[in-house]
Protein backbone atom coordinates (compact mmCIF):
# COMPACT_ATOMS: atom_id res chain seq x y z
CA UNK A 1 0.00 0.00 0.00
CA UNK A 2 1.54 3.28 -1.05
CA UNK A 3 1.31 6.38 1.08
CA UNK A 4 -1.27 7.91 -1.29
CA UNK A 5 -3.55 4.90 -0.96
CA UNK A 6 -3.13 4.94 2.79
CA UNK A 7 -4.09 8.62 2.89
CA UNK A 8 -7.02 7.98 0.57
CA UNK A 9 -8.48 5.30 2.84
CA UNK A 10 -7.82 7.36 5.94
CA UNK A 11 -9.58 10.42 4.49
CA UNK A 12 -12.45 8.35 3.16
CA UNK A 13 -13.07 6.69 6.50
CA UNK A 14 -12.84 10.07 8.21
CA UNK A 15 -15.28 11.66 5.75
CA UNK A 16 -17.83 8.85 6.02
CA UNK A 17 -17.58 8.60 9.80
CA UNK A 18 -17.97 12.37 10.21
CA UNK A 19 -20.88 12.42 7.77
CA UNK A 20 -22.63 9.73 9.80
CA UNK A 21 -21.94 11.67 12.98
CA UNK A 22 -23.53 14.80 11.44
CA UNK A 23 -26.79 12.89 11.17
CA UNK A 24 -26.52 10.94 14.41
CA UNK A 25 -25.48 13.77 16.75
CA UNK A 26 -28.26 14.93 19.06
CA UNK A 27 -26.74 18.36 19.56
CA UNK A 28 -26.97 20.67 16.50
CA UNK A 29 -23.68 22.38 17.36
CA UNK A 30 -21.95 18.98 17.33
CA UNK A 31 -23.52 18.29 13.94
CA UNK A 32 -22.07 21.49 12.52
CA UNK A 33 -18.62 20.66 13.90
CA UNK A 34 -18.76 17.17 12.37
CA UNK A 35 -19.77 18.75 9.07
CA UNK A 36 -16.63 20.88 9.25
CA UNK A 37 -14.65 17.67 9.71
CA UNK A 38 -16.30 16.33 6.53
CA UNK A 39 -15.17 19.41 4.63
CA UNK A 40 -11.64 18.91 5.89
CA UNK A 41 -11.60 15.30 4.72
CA UNK A 42 -12.95 16.26 1.29
CA UNK A 43 -10.32 18.97 0.99
CA UNK A 44 -7.77 16.28 1.72
CA UNK A 45 -9.17 14.31 -1.21
CA UNK A 46 -8.81 17.36 -3.45
CA UNK A 47 -5.15 17.63 -2.47
CA UNK A 48 -4.63 13.96 -3.31
CA UNK A 49 -6.07 14.75 -6.75
CA UNK A 50 -3.55 17.60 -7.09
CA UNK A 51 -6.19 20.31 -6.85
CA UNK A 52 -4.71 22.46 -4.10
CA UNK A 53 -6.63 25.56 -5.09
CA UNK A 54 -10.00 23.80 -4.89
CA UNK A 55 -8.99 22.26 -1.57
CA UNK A 56 -8.11 25.53 0.09
CA UNK A 57 -11.07 27.42 -1.38
CA UNK A 58 -13.35 24.65 -0.14
CA UNK A 59 -11.91 25.21 3.33
CA UNK A 60 -12.07 29.01 3.22
CA UNK A 61 -15.56 29.28 1.78
CA UNK A 62 -17.38 26.32 3.30
CA UNK A 63 -15.56 25.48 6.51
CA UNK A 64 -14.41 29.03 7.18
CA UNK A 65 -17.36 31.21 6.25
CA UNK A 66 -20.59 29.31 5.65
CA UNK A 67 -20.19 27.03 8.64
CA UNK A 68 -19.47 30.01 10.87
CA UNK A 69 -22.83 31.44 9.80
CA UNK A 70 -24.47 28.08 10.58
CA UNK A 71 -22.90 28.17 14.03
CA UNK A 72 -24.07 31.77 14.50
CA UNK A 73 -27.66 30.86 13.79
CA UNK A 74 -27.64 27.73 15.93
CA UNK A 75 -25.93 29.44 18.84
CA UNK A 76 -28.26 32.44 18.74
CA UNK A 77 -31.37 30.28 18.55
CA UNK A 78 -29.94 28.30 21.47
CA UNK A 79 -30.87 24.97 19.95
CA UNK A 80 -29.63 22.07 22.02
CA UNK A 81 -30.35 18.42 22.66
CA UNK A 82 -33.29 19.12 24.98
CA UNK A 83 -34.93 21.46 22.48
CA UNK A 84 -34.79 18.81 19.76
CA UNK A 85 -38.31 17.39 19.19
CA UNK A 86 -38.57 13.68 19.97
CA UNK A 87 -39.30 11.80 16.77
CA UNK A 88 -41.41 8.71 16.51
CA UNK A 89 -39.42 5.47 16.04
CA UNK A 90 -41.47 4.45 13.00
CA UNK A 91 -40.67 7.79 11.41
CA UNK A 92 -36.98 7.15 11.97
CA UNK A 93 -37.28 3.69 10.40
CA UNK A 94 -39.07 5.19 7.39
CA UNK A 95 -36.31 7.76 7.06
CA UNK A 96 -33.61 5.08 7.12
CA UNK A 97 -35.39 3.04 4.42
CA UNK A 98 -35.97 6.09 2.20
CA UNK A 99 -32.37 7.23 2.60
CA UNK A 100 -31.08 3.72 1.86
CA UNK A 101 -33.15 3.53 -1.34
CA UNK A 102 -31.79 6.88 -2.46
CA UNK A 103 -28.25 5.69 -1.79
CA UNK A 104 -28.89 2.58 -3.88
CA UNK A 105 -30.18 4.66 -6.79
CA UNK A 106 -27.10 6.89 -6.61
CA UNK A 107 -24.69 3.97 -6.46
CA UNK A 108 -26.32 2.21 -9.41
CA UNK A 109 -26.28 5.46 -11.38
CA UNK A 110 -22.56 5.92 -10.82
CA UNK A 111 -21.91 2.28 -11.63
CA UNK A 112 -23.81 2.37 -14.93
CA UNK A 113 -22.86 5.81 -16.21
CA UNK A 114 -20.92 5.45 -19.46
CA UNK A 115 -18.64 8.38 -18.74
CA UNK A 116 -17.43 6.82 -15.56
CA UNK A 117 -16.82 3.33 -16.86
CA UNK A 118 -13.27 2.23 -17.55
CA UNK A 119 -11.83 5.40 -16.13
CA UNK A 120 -9.45 4.91 -13.28
CA UNK A 121 -8.82 7.90 -11.07
CA UNK A 122 -5.13 8.63 -10.97
CA UNK A 123 -3.93 10.32 -7.86
CA UNK A 124 -1.66 13.34 -7.87
CA UNK A 125 -1.38 13.71 -11.65
CA UNK A 126 -4.15 16.06 -12.81
CA UNK A 127 -3.24 19.63 -13.60
CA UNK A 128 -6.61 21.35 -13.93
CA UNK A 129 -7.04 21.96 -10.20
CA UNK A 130 -3.92 24.13 -10.03
CA UNK A 131 -4.67 27.83 -9.76
CA UNK A 132 -2.87 28.71 -13.01
CA UNK A 133 -4.79 26.29 -15.22
CA UNK A 134 -8.07 26.95 -13.45
CA UNK A 135 -7.66 30.68 -13.94
CA UNK A 136 -6.85 30.26 -17.62
CA UNK A 137 -9.87 28.03 -18.16
CA UNK A 138 -12.19 30.38 -16.27
CA UNK A 139 -11.05 33.56 -18.01
CA UNK A 140 -10.68 32.15 -21.50
CA UNK A 141 -13.20 29.38 -22.10
CA UNK A 142 -15.84 30.21 -19.52
CA UNK A 143 -15.54 33.96 -19.20
CA UNK A 144 -19.22 34.77 -19.84
CA UNK A 145 -20.71 32.34 -17.31
CA UNK A 146 -18.03 33.38 -14.85
CA UNK A 147 -18.87 37.07 -15.16
CA UNK A 148 -22.60 36.38 -15.02
CA UNK A 149 -22.19 34.47 -11.78
CA UNK A 150 -20.17 37.35 -10.35
CA UNK A 151 -23.04 39.71 -11.18
CA UNK A 152 -25.32 37.28 -9.36
CA UNK A 153 -23.13 37.49 -6.27
CA UNK A 154 -23.08 41.27 -6.46
CA UNK A 155 -26.86 41.46 -6.66
CA UNK A 156 -27.15 39.09 -3.70
CA UNK A 157 -24.83 41.36 -1.73
CA UNK A 158 -26.79 44.48 -2.63
CA UNK A 159 -30.00 42.68 -1.70
CA UNK A 160 -28.59 41.75 1.70
CA UNK A 161 -27.55 45.36 2.35
CA UNK A 162 -30.98 46.68 1.34
CA UNK A 163 -32.75 44.20 3.63
CA UNK A 164 -30.34 45.03 6.41
CA UNK A 165 -31.04 48.76 6.04
CA UNK A 166 -34.81 48.28 6.24
CA UNK A 167 -34.73 46.49 9.57
Amino acid sequence: MSITQFLFYFLTVLALFSAVMVVVSKNPVHSVLWLIAVFFAISGHYILLNAQFLAIVNLIVYAGAIMVLFLFVIMLMNLNASAEPQKNNWLKLAGVIAGGCFLMVLVSLVKQANELNNIAVTMGTGEIGLIKNLGKALFNDFVVPFEISSVLFLSAMVGAVVIGKKA
Binding site: M1, S2, I3, F6, N27, V29, H30, L33, I36, Q52, F53, I56, V57, L59, I60, A63, G64, A65, V68, L71, F72, M75, L76, L130, I131
Partner: protein, 350 residues
Protein backbone atom coordinates in the same frame (compact mmCIF):
# COMPACT_ATOMS: atom_id res chain seq x y z
CA UNK B 1 7.03 -2.65 2.33
CA UNK B 2 6.04 0.00 -0.18
CA UNK B 3 4.33 1.90 2.61
CA UNK B 4 7.76 3.02 3.70
CA UNK B 5 8.77 4.22 0.26
CA UNK B 6 9.25 7.78 1.39
CA UNK B 7 12.27 9.97 1.84
CA UNK B 8 12.83 9.46 5.56
CA UNK B 9 15.57 12.08 5.69
CA UNK B 10 13.12 14.63 4.35
CA UNK B 11 10.55 13.70 6.99
CA UNK B 12 13.11 13.91 9.78
CA UNK B 13 14.36 17.24 8.42
CA UNK B 14 10.84 18.67 8.32
CA UNK B 15 9.98 17.34 11.78
CA UNK B 16 13.08 18.97 13.25
CA UNK B 17 12.22 22.21 11.48
CA UNK B 18 8.64 22.10 12.75
CA UNK B 19 9.82 21.45 16.29
CA UNK B 20 12.31 24.32 16.17
CA UNK B 21 9.81 26.79 14.72
CA UNK B 22 7.00 25.84 17.08
CA UNK B 23 9.18 26.02 20.18
CA UNK B 24 10.80 29.24 18.98
CA UNK B 25 7.36 30.81 18.41
CA UNK B 26 6.28 29.72 21.89
CA UNK B 27 9.46 31.15 23.39
CA UNK B 28 9.09 34.42 21.53
CA UNK B 29 5.43 34.60 22.55
CA UNK B 30 6.49 34.09 26.17
CA UNK B 31 8.75 37.09 26.00
CA UNK B 32 6.23 39.08 23.99
CA UNK B 33 3.97 39.04 27.07
CA UNK B 34 6.90 40.43 29.03
CA UNK B 35 7.59 43.04 26.35
CA UNK B 36 3.93 44.03 26.40
CA UNK B 37 4.07 44.78 30.11
CA UNK B 38 7.36 46.64 29.79
CA UNK B 39 6.13 48.73 26.85
CA UNK B 40 2.96 49.54 28.75
CA UNK B 41 5.06 50.56 31.73
CA UNK B 42 7.31 52.81 29.66
CA UNK B 43 4.35 54.47 27.96
CA UNK B 44 2.66 55.02 31.33
CA UNK B 45 5.86 56.22 33.00
CA UNK B 46 6.27 53.45 35.58
CA UNK B 47 8.91 50.72 36.05
CA UNK B 48 6.81 47.67 35.11
CA UNK B 49 7.68 44.10 36.19
CA UNK B 50 11.16 44.23 37.75
CA UNK B 51 11.12 41.78 40.69
CA UNK B 52 11.56 38.29 39.18
CA UNK B 53 15.18 37.90 38.12
CA UNK B 54 17.43 40.62 36.68
CA UNK B 55 15.29 43.42 35.12
CA UNK B 56 12.29 41.18 35.77
CA UNK B 57 13.38 38.86 32.98
CA UNK B 58 11.97 35.77 34.72
CA UNK B 59 8.52 37.33 34.97
CA UNK B 60 7.00 35.30 32.05
CA UNK B 61 8.05 32.05 33.76
CA UNK B 62 6.50 33.21 37.01
CA UNK B 63 3.29 34.04 35.10
CA UNK B 64 3.29 30.67 33.37
CA UNK B 65 3.88 28.81 36.62
CA UNK B 66 1.04 30.73 38.23
CA UNK B 67 -1.33 29.82 35.38
CA UNK B 68 -0.40 26.12 35.53
CA UNK B 69 -0.78 25.97 39.30
CA UNK B 70 -4.29 27.46 39.28
CA UNK B 71 -7.24 25.16 39.80
CA UNK B 72 -8.73 23.78 36.61
CA UNK B 73 -12.42 24.65 36.66
CA UNK B 74 -14.92 23.29 34.15
CA UNK B 75 -18.38 24.78 34.78
CA UNK B 76 -20.99 22.10 35.48
CA UNK B 77 -23.48 23.41 32.94
CA UNK B 78 -20.91 23.78 30.18
CA UNK B 79 -20.46 21.48 27.21
CA UNK B 80 -17.37 19.69 28.49
CA UNK B 81 -15.90 18.26 25.29
CA UNK B 82 -16.21 21.53 23.41
CA UNK B 83 -15.10 23.53 26.43
CA UNK B 84 -11.78 21.67 26.32
CA UNK B 85 -11.61 21.71 22.51
CA UNK B 86 -11.90 25.51 22.24
CA UNK B 87 -8.50 26.61 23.58
CA UNK B 88 -6.79 23.75 21.75
CA UNK B 89 -8.29 24.85 18.45
CA UNK B 90 -7.30 28.46 19.05
CA UNK B 91 -3.72 27.43 19.74
CA UNK B 92 -3.50 24.98 16.81
CA UNK B 93 -4.82 27.51 14.33
CA UNK B 94 -2.40 30.13 15.62
CA UNK B 95 0.60 27.83 15.26
CA UNK B 96 -0.39 26.38 11.87
CA UNK B 97 0.33 29.65 10.09
CA UNK B 98 4.08 29.27 10.64
CA UNK B 99 4.35 26.44 8.13
CA UNK B 100 4.25 28.57 4.96
CA UNK B 101 6.35 31.51 6.13
CA UNK B 102 9.84 31.50 4.59
CA UNK B 103 12.03 32.05 7.65
CA UNK B 104 15.17 32.38 5.57
CA UNK B 105 16.87 31.04 2.44
CA UNK B 106 18.47 27.61 2.79
CA UNK B 107 21.31 26.15 4.79
CA UNK B 108 23.66 23.39 3.74
CA UNK B 109 24.57 20.62 6.15
CA UNK B 110 26.56 17.58 4.90
CA UNK B 111 25.84 18.47 1.26
CA UNK B 112 22.13 18.51 1.96
CA UNK B 113 20.22 21.64 1.05
CA UNK B 114 17.65 22.41 3.72
CA UNK B 115 15.06 25.10 3.01
CA UNK B 116 14.18 27.11 6.07
CA UNK B 117 10.48 26.93 5.26
CA UNK B 118 8.30 24.02 6.29
CA UNK B 119 6.20 23.90 3.12
CA UNK B 120 6.57 26.01 -0.01
CA UNK B 121 3.09 25.37 -1.37
CA UNK B 122 1.83 27.19 -4.45
CA UNK B 123 -1.20 28.53 -2.57
CA UNK B 124 0.69 29.85 0.47
CA UNK B 125 -1.37 32.97 1.04
CA UNK B 126 -4.68 31.20 0.60
CA UNK B 127 -3.47 28.64 3.13
CA UNK B 128 -2.92 31.45 5.62
CA UNK B 129 -6.45 32.69 4.95
CA UNK B 130 -7.83 29.20 5.49
CA UNK B 131 -6.03 28.88 8.81
CA UNK B 132 -7.09 32.35 9.94
CA UNK B 133 -10.70 31.50 9.22
CA UNK B 134 -10.27 28.35 11.32
CA UNK B 135 -9.04 30.49 14.21
CA UNK B 136 -12.56 31.89 14.58
CA UNK B 137 -13.80 28.48 15.71
CA UNK B 138 -11.57 28.41 18.78
CA UNK B 139 -13.19 31.59 19.98
CA UNK B 140 -16.75 30.68 19.00
CA UNK B 141 -16.67 27.17 20.42
CA UNK B 142 -15.06 28.34 23.64
CA UNK B 143 -17.54 31.17 24.06
CA UNK B 144 -20.55 28.99 23.37
CA UNK B 145 -19.46 25.96 25.37
CA UNK B 146 -18.97 28.10 28.49
CA UNK B 147 -22.76 28.50 28.68
CA UNK B 148 -22.43 32.11 29.71
CA UNK B 149 -24.27 34.97 28.03
CA UNK B 150 -21.32 37.32 28.15
CA UNK B 151 -18.99 34.72 26.67
CA UNK B 152 -21.43 34.03 23.85
CA UNK B 153 -21.85 37.73 23.12
CA UNK B 154 -18.09 38.19 23.02
CA UNK B 155 -17.61 35.14 20.79
CA UNK B 156 -20.22 36.38 18.31
CA UNK B 157 -18.63 39.82 18.28
CA UNK B 158 -15.22 38.33 17.72
CA UNK B 159 -16.36 36.07 14.92
CA UNK B 160 -18.27 38.76 13.04
CA UNK B 161 -15.34 41.13 13.43
CA UNK B 162 -12.92 38.54 12.07
CA UNK B 163 -15.14 37.74 9.08
CA UNK B 164 -15.68 41.43 8.26
CA UNK B 165 -12.00 42.31 8.29
CA UNK B 166 -10.96 39.17 6.43
CA UNK B 167 -12.70 40.61 3.35
CA UNK B 168 -10.76 43.85 3.31
CA UNK B 169 -7.57 41.93 4.08
CA UNK B 170 -8.10 39.64 1.10
CA UNK B 171 -8.85 42.56 -1.21
CA UNK B 172 -5.72 44.43 -0.16
CA UNK B 173 -3.71 41.27 -0.77
CA UNK B 174 -4.93 40.92 -4.34
CA UNK B 175 -2.88 43.99 -5.28
CA UNK B 176 0.28 42.33 -3.92
CA UNK B 177 -0.54 39.17 -5.83
CA UNK B 178 -0.94 41.14 -9.05
CA UNK B 179 2.51 42.64 -8.52
CA UNK B 180 4.30 39.40 -7.76
CA UNK B 181 2.19 37.06 -9.89
CA UNK B 182 2.35 34.24 -7.39
CA UNK B 183 0.56 32.96 -4.30
CA UNK B 184 3.66 31.36 -2.86
CA UNK B 185 5.22 33.42 -0.08
CA UNK B 186 8.68 32.24 -1.07
CA UNK B 187 8.26 33.58 -4.61
CA UNK B 188 6.90 36.87 -3.29
CA UNK B 189 9.93 37.31 -1.01
CA UNK B 190 12.35 36.31 -3.78
CA UNK B 191 10.73 38.86 -6.09
CA UNK B 192 11.39 41.59 -3.55
CA UNK B 193 14.98 40.42 -3.01
CA UNK B 194 15.90 40.37 -6.70
CA UNK B 195 18.38 43.00 -7.83
CA UNK B 196 16.76 46.23 -8.98
CA UNK B 197 13.41 45.63 -7.30
CA UNK B 198 12.15 47.35 -4.19
CA UNK B 199 10.10 46.05 -1.29
CA UNK B 200 6.39 45.87 -1.94
CA UNK B 201 5.74 48.65 0.58
CA UNK B 202 7.13 51.08 -2.03
CA UNK B 203 4.45 50.02 -4.51
CA UNK B 204 1.69 49.32 -2.03
CA UNK B 205 1.66 51.88 0.80
CA UNK B 206 -2.14 52.05 0.93
CA UNK B 207 -2.46 48.29 0.66
CA UNK B 208 -0.09 47.87 3.57
CA UNK B 209 -2.03 50.27 5.77
CA UNK B 210 -5.27 48.39 5.04
CA UNK B 211 -3.57 45.06 5.70
CA UNK B 212 -2.11 46.33 8.95
CA UNK B 213 -5.42 47.63 10.27
CA UNK B 214 -7.08 44.35 9.34
CA UNK B 215 -4.31 42.41 11.06
CA UNK B 216 -4.95 44.41 14.23
CA UNK B 217 -8.61 43.48 14.00
CA UNK B 218 -7.89 39.80 13.24
CA UNK B 219 -5.60 39.53 16.26
CA UNK B 220 -8.25 41.17 18.50
CA UNK B 221 -5.79 43.87 19.48
CA UNK B 222 -6.73 47.32 20.71
CA UNK B 223 -8.33 49.45 19.24
CA UNK B 224 -10.33 46.47 17.97
CA UNK B 225 -10.35 44.25 21.09
CA UNK B 226 -14.13 44.27 21.25
CA UNK B 227 -14.36 40.54 22.14
CA UNK B 228 -12.45 41.34 25.33
CA UNK B 229 -14.04 44.67 26.19
CA UNK B 230 -13.91 44.28 29.99
CA UNK B 231 -16.24 47.11 30.82
CA UNK B 232 -18.98 45.70 28.58
CA UNK B 233 -18.46 41.95 28.71
CA UNK B 234 -16.68 41.26 32.03
CA UNK B 235 -13.73 39.38 30.58
CA UNK B 236 -14.82 38.35 27.10
CA UNK B 237 -15.17 34.97 25.48
CA UNK B 238 -12.75 33.28 27.91
CA UNK B 239 -14.66 34.42 30.97
CA UNK B 240 -15.26 30.93 32.37
CA UNK B 241 -11.78 29.61 31.67
CA UNK B 242 -9.12 29.14 34.27
CA UNK B 243 -5.63 27.75 34.56
CA UNK B 244 -3.75 26.74 31.42
CA UNK B 245 -6.86 26.72 29.21
CA UNK B 246 -7.10 30.45 29.78
CA UNK B 247 -3.35 30.58 29.24
CA UNK B 248 -3.80 28.95 25.84
CA UNK B 249 -6.30 31.59 24.76
CA UNK B 250 -4.13 34.46 25.94
CA UNK B 251 -1.04 32.86 24.48
CA UNK B 252 -2.61 32.16 21.10
CA UNK B 253 -3.30 35.89 20.81
CA UNK B 254 0.41 36.61 21.11
CA UNK B 255 1.29 33.87 18.63
CA UNK B 256 -1.24 35.33 16.20
CA UNK B 257 0.50 38.64 16.61
CA UNK B 258 3.90 37.14 15.83
CA UNK B 259 2.58 35.25 12.81
CA UNK B 260 0.76 38.23 11.36
CA UNK B 261 3.91 40.30 11.84
CA UNK B 262 5.87 37.63 9.98
CA UNK B 263 3.31 37.61 7.16
CA UNK B 264 3.38 41.39 6.89
CA UNK B 265 7.17 41.41 6.87
CA UNK B 266 7.20 38.77 4.12
CA UNK B 267 4.54 40.43 1.98
CA UNK B 268 5.51 44.08 2.23
CA UNK B 269 8.97 44.36 3.79
CA UNK B 270 11.00 41.83 1.87
CA UNK B 271 10.82 38.97 4.37
CA UNK B 272 14.32 37.87 5.28
CA UNK B 273 15.89 40.42 2.91
CA UNK B 274 18.51 42.74 4.37
CA UNK B 275 18.36 46.22 2.81
CA UNK B 276 21.41 47.38 0.84
CA UNK B 277 23.14 44.03 1.01
CA UNK B 278 23.57 41.50 -1.77
CA UNK B 279 23.05 38.14 -0.05
CA UNK B 280 24.38 36.14 -2.97
CA UNK B 281 27.94 37.28 -2.19
CA UNK B 282 27.84 35.58 1.22
CA UNK B 283 28.27 31.91 2.02
CA UNK B 284 24.78 30.30 2.03
CA UNK B 285 24.84 29.33 5.71
CA UNK B 286 25.87 32.79 6.89
CA UNK B 287 23.32 34.44 4.59
CA UNK B 288 20.62 32.17 6.02
CA UNK B 289 21.47 33.04 9.61
CA UNK B 290 21.60 36.77 8.86
CA UNK B 291 18.28 36.37 7.03
CA UNK B 292 16.61 34.83 10.09
CA UNK B 293 17.96 37.66 12.22
CA UNK B 294 16.65 40.24 9.73
CA UNK B 295 13.18 38.68 9.68
CA UNK B 296 13.08 38.45 13.48
CA UNK B 297 14.09 42.12 13.73
CA UNK B 298 11.27 43.10 11.41
CA UNK B 299 8.84 40.99 13.44
CA UNK B 300 10.04 42.64 16.66
CA UNK B 301 9.49 46.10 15.19
CA UNK B 302 5.94 45.16 14.13
CA UNK B 303 5.17 43.72 17.55
CA UNK B 304 6.39 46.93 19.14
CA UNK B 305 4.07 48.93 16.89
CA UNK B 306 1.17 46.65 17.86
CA UNK B 307 1.89 47.36 21.54
CA UNK B 308 2.46 51.05 20.98
CA UNK B 309 -0.98 51.27 19.39
CA UNK B 310 -2.55 49.24 22.17
CA UNK B 311 -1.36 51.61 24.87
CA UNK B 312 -2.11 54.85 23.02
CA UNK B 313 -5.35 54.42 21.08
CA UNK B 314 -8.66 53.90 22.92
CA UNK B 315 -11.09 51.14 21.95
CA UNK B 316 -13.61 51.66 19.16
CA UNK B 317 -17.32 51.30 19.68
CA UNK B 318 -18.84 48.26 17.99
CA UNK B 319 -20.76 50.21 15.33
CA UNK B 320 -17.64 52.29 14.61
CA UNK B 321 -15.69 49.07 14.15
CA UNK B 322 -18.21 47.72 11.65
CA UNK B 323 -18.45 51.04 9.80
CA UNK B 324 -14.69 51.25 9.51
CA UNK B 325 -14.48 47.71 8.20
CA UNK B 326 -17.30 47.75 5.69
CA UNK B 327 -17.56 51.40 4.65
CA UNK B 328 -13.94 52.51 4.74
CA UNK B 329 -11.58 49.55 4.49
CA UNK B 330 -13.35 47.57 1.77
CA UNK B 331 -13.89 50.53 -0.61
CA UNK B 332 -10.30 51.67 -0.03
CA UNK B 333 -9.02 48.18 -0.74
CA UNK B 334 -11.11 47.99 -3.94
CA UNK B 335 -9.77 51.39 -5.03
CA UNK B 336 -6.21 50.26 -4.31
CA UNK B 337 -6.80 47.11 -6.34
CA UNK B 338 -8.18 49.06 -9.32
CA UNK B 339 -5.32 51.57 -9.32
CA UNK B 340 -2.71 48.84 -9.05
CA UNK B 341 -4.28 46.88 -11.88
CA UNK B 342 -4.49 49.97 -14.09
CA UNK B 343 -0.85 50.90 -13.44
CA UNK B 344 0.33 47.37 -14.15
CA UNK B 345 -1.55 47.41 -17.47
CA UNK B 346 -0.17 50.85 -18.29
CA UNK B 347 3.38 49.73 -17.60
CA UNK B 348 2.91 46.62 -19.71
CA UNK B 349 1.81 48.95 -22.52
CA UNK B 350 -1.46 47.23 -23.40
Amino acid sequence: MTLLAVDWLLIIEKLVLIAIIVFASLGIALYTTFAERKVAAVLQDRPGPNRAGPFGLLQPFADGLKLIMKEEIIPTSSNKALFVLGPGLAMTAALMTCSVIPWSSHIEIFDRKIDLQIADINIGILYIFGVVSMGVYGMMIGGWASNNKFSLMAALRGASQAISYELAMGLSLIAVLMLSGSLSLKTIVDGQMAAGSYWNIVYQPLGFIIFFVCALAECNRTPFDLPEAENELNFGYHQEYSSMKLGFYLFSEYINMIMSSAVMASLYFGGFDIPFLDESTLAPNIAAIIGVAALLTKIAIFIFVFMWIRWTVPRFRYDQLMNLGWKTMIPLALFNMLVTGALILLKAGV
